[in-house]
Symmetry: C2
Subunit: 232 residues, 2 copies
């Protein structure tokens, strides 16, 4: 019975890694599509999000079956409940990659990112790729040092998010003024990446909790909402 439980739990872990890898690829490709106006790549990201959704459903079924048949307690129970939550978070990260791709597709053949924002969105793409890569690694190996790294990556993403607001609200003198569509796009894109980072942190905290039994952060972080809405 225990052996079966271990095997099933390992399968759940493998599927979480698989899901995280899909999410990583999705966000990487979405950022490339956004930067280059690659319509086909954007559409591939949008279509492939279904795979992540299916993986979530499959994982959820596995977890519920595991709970019903194996009736785990203590740490084992905590692991299964966490897996349920991790799959929901990864599914949401996949959605956010899809949203970025949808903005890229929506502006085709133009680029969605205004010229004066090319650099900040390149850095945002780098930071979100780092978050996604570290989430995969954390799920692969439960190396707790990565949890702290993800928090730092997310701080970086938050700082870059604030930078997009600064550029919109106090543009450089020689920057071409943005039209309303561009402000909308930059605002939404900034929000999507920021939430992507927040969810990465949520994964990190959940794994840290699993490994150490101690919560060092209890709710999904909210990034810079508080700051920006205080008046950027």
């Amino acid at each position: 019975m225990r052996e079966i439980f271990r095997q099933e739990l390992e399968q759940v872990g493998d599927d979480l890694v698989l899901m995280a890898r899909h999410v990583q690829t999705a966000m990487e490709h979405a950022s490339i599509a956004l930067a280059t106006g690659d319509l086909r790549l954007a559409e591939r990201v949008i279509d492939d999000d279904r795979t992540v959704d299916q993986l979530e459903q499959s994982l959820d079924e596995q977890c519920v079956t595991l709970l019903a048949r194996q009736q785990p307690v203590a740490t084992d129970l905590r692991v299964v409940v966490s897996a349920l939550r991790l799959s929901a978070t990864l599914e949401r990260m996949g959605d956010l990659a899809r949203h970025v791709a949808q903005v890229a597709r929506g502006r085709y053949p133009e680029l969605a990112v205004p010229e004066s924002f090319t650099d900040v969105f390149r850095r945002i793409a780098d930071a979100s790729n780092t978050v996604a890569r570290d989430v995969v690694r954390l799920l692969e190996g439960r190396d707790l040092a990565l949890a702290a790294t993800i928090e730092a990556d997310d701080d970086q993403l938050d700082a870059l998010h604030r930078e997009t607001f600064r550029l919109m609200l106090a543009p450089r003198e020689n920057a071409r003024p943005l039209d309303a569509q561009q402000v909308v796009d930059v605002t939404l894109l900034g929000r999507y990446y920021e939430r992507f980072g927040d969810h990465g942190v949520s994964v990190a905290r959940r794994i840290a909790y699993l490994v150490t039994g101690e919560a060092y952060g209890t709710t999904i972080p909210d990034g810079v909402d508080a700051q920006i809405s205080r008046g950027a």
Copy 2:
């Protein structure tokens, strides 16, 4: 044993209703604070979000304890797993109410909503209040007719969200042009309310699934993202 299980499960149900009521009040007050520039009300919403967060944690602990001690199977297990997910969704709805309040606070003593958007945001507030109220009722009574009503409320919210984009991107002739801060605020506010409605639908679908055993919608809906990003 069964009697204790029933009692504990009832407690979980009661706490979900309590949480949903907090969320309803939070969004109602956030919308009033937004419409009237009421700083103290905005701050109360922001502070009170902690209560929702605490309720979520308490609910999660109850559910995990229930799983460990009572080892439910079949429908009972599904109910407990659903409660875990419902509490996460309600917590997120509370966050979104807080975000609306944060935008209201950030623009104080000005109003965050530009004059030409007063009417659409009044209708958005009405629709989100309806969603929140129906979520409370659905959790109270499991009346499946309400699940369909919530879907319709959310369609209404999505239509109003599209209307905010129309007003930003093709303003009426006599409307005063928006500055970048206003476009940012309207974009984020629209997104917060839209997500609030999406989460309401997610609650509706989960309860419907619990009652009927049939999924009629499997992932959290994405509102109008696809449409708006196709090019508003």
